[in-house]
């Protein structure tokens, strides 16, 4: 999948929702990972592993280093990693 594909955002939101400790929340780009979805440091590691699995990113991507506040940050980071992989 290309980094600029509109499908990236949809797939990221699905993964974030599947991995969220709180499941009763609709995940949008504005949804906050910790406050709204209950992520902690360990579950963020698991989210990073799931994103790598979903998008075929290398295991050394260390996505959790850059995951910040909300789902939109995750979309941006995945796009960056995909773009790096394309180049």
């Amino acid at each position: 999948m290309r980094a600029d594909s509109p499908g990236v955002a949809t797939r990221v939101l699905v993964v974030v929702g599947d991995m969220a400790p709180f499941r009763d929340v609709e995940v949008t780009p504005e949804t906050r990972l910790r406050e709204d979805l209950g992520f902690d440091s360990l579950s963020l590691l698991e989210l990073a592993a799931a994103l790598e699995d979903e998008f075929g990113l290398p295991g050394s991507a260390d996505l959790e280093d850059e995951i910040a506040d909300c789902a939109d940050d995750v979309i941006r980071i995945v796009r960056e990693k995909l773009s790096e992989a394309e180049n």
Binding site: D18, D62, D65
Partner: protein, 336 residues
């Protein structure tokens, strides 16, 4: 109909107790810090807010399941979460109220029977705070039952669990390929009880006259060993994965704590990625519970819990399809 105030109602034990109490004819009022839209549960952050007006009434029974069970808490965090909150609930008890405090068997250790108030007598500040709460409640409450379960897993017959902490943390790490090894004594006791067994102990105590002062529902010397639990957990997970067309995970090797700290960790620390370090740091909190050799004394005894691991793993996997289905990754210092 006897009235019950149940705190921590959205937690692992709270959810089970709520159902059991309602089905046996109690009038149950539930509170939780974050009800998250669940109808009928009153929001109350016990350690930071005054009690809602609706709770100021005579209760026949108060069951305090509210707790922050993180082993990594500071003393200040643990005190607020587990002592201040318990005392806030105790303030709602009247002389005739039977107060049931859910504590932890883990406060019984090599340096204390759970009565010491010194921080250094406990493995972490969570344990210390639960001992402090027990002590404070003994001074404040007349009709008190303290229940000290070990780690709690899902229901014995179907594995249902409202939260996935404790044993599930290991399971989650294994499926995410972030657990390279389990630092433990292979033959250490891993005392686990199904949540429905604990709920029965609590509800039985509520019916007892006079109330029993202390209950420790553990497997004791019948507890499974660390190696057995790990094998059983991975076997159940791999059976589930095979049914879902996913490659099996490997059972992580068990490395004795002394070998790990003397020979493994010092030589790999500079090479670890942040993810690897975070995982290992997190697992460090587990270590004291994976090298227990002295069994806790059961009162009442709980039947062997090894069989209950299988439905617990399967329930967790069904509830966490994506994580449980992750492809295994080789774990070494050059990959995350």
């Amino acid at each position: 109909m006897r009235s019950v105030l149940l705190t921590g109602a959205t937690g692992l034990l709270g959810v089970e107790l709520h159902e059991r109490l309602e089905s046996t004819g109690y009038e149950v009022t539930c509170v939780a810090r974050s009800p998250r839209g669940r109808p009928g549960i009153i929001p109350w952050d016990l350690s930071r807010e005054p009690p809602p007006e609706a709770l100021s009434r005579a209760w026949d029974v108060i069951v305090n399941c509210a707790a922050d069970t993180r082993w990594s808490q500071t003393a200040e965090e643990a005190f607020r979460a587990n002592v201040v909150s318990a005392m806030a609930v105790a303030a709602l008890a009247r002389p005739q109220t039977h107060f049931v405090q859910v504590s932890t068997a883990a406060i019984i250790g090599p340096r204390s029977d759970g009565t010491s108030l010194r921080q250094t007598d406990y493995r972490n500040m969570y344990e210390w705070s639960k001992a402090r709460a027990e002590s404070a409640l003994r001074q404040r409450v007349d009709l008190l039952t303290i229940v000290r379960p070990p780690l709690i897993i899902g229901r014995r017959f179907d594995g249902r669990a409202a939260r996935f902490t404790g044993l599930y943390t290991l399971l989650r790490g294994i499926t995410a390929s972030t657990v390279p090894a389990v630092v433990a004594e292979r033959d250490g006791l891993f005392d686990l009880v199904p949540v429905d067994d604990v709920a029965v102990v609590v509800t039985d105590a509520m019916c007892s006259t006079p109330p029993p002062p202390l209950l420790t529902p553990v497997c004791g010397s019948e507890a499974p060993r660390v190696g057995e639990v790990l094998e059983c957990m991975c076997s159940a997970l791999n059976e589930w994965r095979a049914e879902h067309g996913v490659l099996p995970v490997e059972v992580p090797p068990i490395i004795a704590p002394e070998s790990w700290h003397r020979f493994y960790r010092p030589f790999t620390d500079d090479l670890l990625t942040r993810r690897q370090k975070l995982t290992l740091d997190h697992l460090d909190h587990f270590l004291p519970y994976l090298k227990l050799t002295e069994p806790w004394i059961p009162n009442p005894p709980v039947a062997g819990s090894l069989d209950a691991i299988v439905p617990s793993v399967r329930y967790w996997a069904d509830a966490n399809l994506r994580l449980a289905s992750l492809a295994p990754r080789a774990w070494n210092v050059s990959t995350g």
